[in-house]
Subunit: 433 residues, 2 copies
């Protein structure tokens, strides 16, 4: 009897993070980190797939509704039937003839697609008894390419080019795998720089982070220039002139504002400006990148799909590709973006934080290093110290590095007691509030 998906359970899980202002930024002053959480039930009681998409509170229920709308496309399918035609499976979700109208491939319906697709990959990895990154690393270049829907990107990357990129570093995969298992993957921290923190709180957190060995630090900016100048000065004072300081505006500026603001912050030597303007504005990012050099531009956490990423590459609009594991349509689309990044020579520095994103993106960067980029130069994983205690296999950070996850799956399985207590609105945590 083949392993078959017999049901899809979608849950609205929310954490009341707005009470502490952890995660606050110029555009999102009061997030309640949340997950639209999917469980794929199978005919094997010992095996299920878990996946999620990340939101910041209100609206999570809309993603749950979208997961329920997509569920009939998954229920009744066998794992083998899905994994042997991965690109076709992915397109069956993203191009469903009526549902695509409310996207296509963007916003709520694409976030929901991500949760489901990530759950399928989790199920696959668990059934192979491998962490997701190792499942990917053990696929041949041909198998990896067969997971990608190349629709709308062939003018930037063909399947043949993707194969060539993957074959290039295939002979040396094993040595990089050994290195990652030994050393982990380098990270940077956002935990000290949230916009809602006081100056004293920030200094305290920075000193703690320095003591733990962090070398790259991110600061939220964009509220007003005076505050930004004071806060960036404090951060630079604390971390010294050599360590890297990145700033993140979370989309608050227009193009001309971004340029003016970054010129004012330039004396503090920021390495990159993240999300200077609308994530939809490819040409705007290109204009900003040109105007503020040598400060670099990073974006991606709100970039909706591979088509916008393609144009960011084509227009030389950014220097760091911050893929998100849940914003685009799950692992399949992430593979397409990682391969385009390799072709255009742009490093992958995934977006993390939130809830579950750190657990996810560690797999993606490790795969990128072993199979695609073969480089750690200018590459780091974001880390924020939130909510890891809710996962069965939380991330492990040592000396500023993510340790390679070894448990089977894609690491986003939450503890059963979390799924009960944080269920919205009926869980104990919300009933108390």
């Amino acid at each position: 009897m083949p392993l078959t998906i017999t049901d899809v359970v979608a849950r609205d899980i929310r954490f009341p993070t707005s009470r502490s202002l952890a995660g606050s930024d110029a555009m999102h002053p009061d997030p309640d980190y949340s997950a639209a959480y999917v469980t794929l039930v199978t005919n094997d009681p010992a095996l299920q797939g878990d996946g999620l998409t990340f939101t910041i509170g209100r609206g999570n229920e809309i993603c749950v509704a979208a997961i329920k709308a997509l569920a009939p496309l998954v229920i009744g399918r066998t794992l083998e039937g899905i994994t042997s035609h991965m690109a076709a499976f992915w397109r069956s979700l993203t191009a469903e003839s009526q549902l695509r109208w409310v996207g296509p491939e963007k916003g709520v319906i694409h976030l929901a697609t991500a949760a489901l697709v990530n759950a399928v990959w989790d199920l696959w990895a668990k059934s192979e008894q491998k962490p997701l990154w190792k499942l990917l690393v053990d696929l041949s270049p041909e198998q990896l390419v067969s997971c990608i829907d190349f629709r709308y990107i062939t003018d930037a990357l063909t399947p043949e080019e993707a194969l060539t990129l993957l074959r290039r570093n295939e002979p040396t995969r094993a040595q990089r795998e050994a290195e990652i298992r030994r050393r982990g993957y380098p990270a940077y921290t956002t935990s000290a720089g949230w916009l809602g923190y006081s100056d004293e709180q920030m200094r305290q957190l920075l000193r703690e982070a320095l003591a733990k060995g962090w070398t790259h630090f991110k600061l939220k900016v964009g509220a007003n220039l005076e505050d930004d100048l004071r806060r960036i000065r404090i951060m630079r004072e604390e971390i010294g002139p050599e360590r890297r300081l990145m700033v993140d505006a979370n989309q608050v500026w227009d193009v001309d504002q971004a340029i003016a603001h970054m010129k004012a912050l330039a004396p503090y030597n920021p390495w990159w400006i993240e999300e200077p303007t609308s994530p939809d504005d490819v040409l705007g990012h290109a204009t900003i990148a040109k105007a503020i050099a040598p400060i670099k531009v990073a974006t991606g956490e709100h970039v909706q799909n591979r088509v916008i990423f393609k144009q960011l590459f084509q227009a030389q609009a950014f220097h760091f590709c911050q893929i998100d594991a849940c914003r685009v349509g799950g692992v399949n689309e992430v593979l397409a973006i990682i391969l385009m990044a390799a072709k255009f020579g742009i490093p992958i520095c995934p977006h993390a934080g939130g809830v579950g994103l750190c657990e996810y993106v560690q797999h993606l960067s490790i795969f990128d290093y072993i199979c695609v980029s073969a480089s750690l130069e200018d590459r780091m994983l974001e880390f924020a110290n939130h909510l890891h205690e809710h996962f069965v296999h939380p991330v492990v950070i040592e000396n500023g590095h993510y340790k390679a996850p070894l448990a089977p799956g894609y690491s986003a399985t939450m503890l059963p007691e979390t799924l009960d207590a944080y269920a919205y609105p009926d869980g104990a945590v919300w009933q108390k509030a």
Copy 2:
């Protein structure tokens, strides 16, 4: 006592159009035209605002869920409080600090925003006892500009430039209004060219349309080249060499495919190719436009917001701006796009068809002509002969023109018996199915 919105009712209304293949195209073979339908209840029993967003069936319930998520931002507000700060009201919906995460300003949450915003404009127009276009025409340039959120577009259009554009044609508004009231606004028809129709059905419908005085005809293409060549030949035979023929691929091609396909269709002299590729691909449209000249490029019905439109203008990526009344965030954002189009010299030819879109876009084109473009050259409203019988004030077409609507409001109020019978899944029409 000021007029106050006391409740928001959201309904899932669907029409089983897939049974007839009306509306079928290469990407959407079996649409059930649907509306996520909003009613703003007020403290005046005689006055309510109705609005909708258009979808094609499954997924409509997700838009309804999103309307319910946005509703608390509208309930309790007075009409005067909203209309006296229209841009701020609009931003309060699109930048809600948690809900924006599941967009921002795209897909489901933006479709839902459109339904709500359109309902507010309907309420305003009804309270002024004017059709929506006349409400807009009677606003001063300053008032119109104050309805627009310029966030993310100031590098293409500033408020000052918008004012200048509106003042340019202000002295001659009255003569164009008189002309439109007399002659109506020119239209073209899509009703003969749906992909699911047989050759015989198409010939029959084309002859009927010619007899009614239509001069511009649209053909759905993109299934396969052989069928497309046969069908475009039939259409050209029926309409003769002079009348205009437009083709519409509904996003099925990659960039290189679009170029090759259109070179094959070029001998039949298509005027434009609509939606040749992904609606997100600004640079792809620019590449196509350059390669297939003198055939022109049209797009817009799936362009998610003003930021993508801005880039289509900046990149000279299209020749016809097909705004949709429901895809972007309602009248406020449409105003921004109409003004950018005027600045960049691109004609507005709105997307219609579906359900309610014809009722909506007639107001937008009439406003564009009277207040902004002051030209009918290369401008036409799409018309499809679907589902108008469900509206209290359906569009009226005469001799290939939309007659100017005269009833107060934005024309999207459905008949009470329609709201009952077509409610999904409990209405009589769906219970029978």
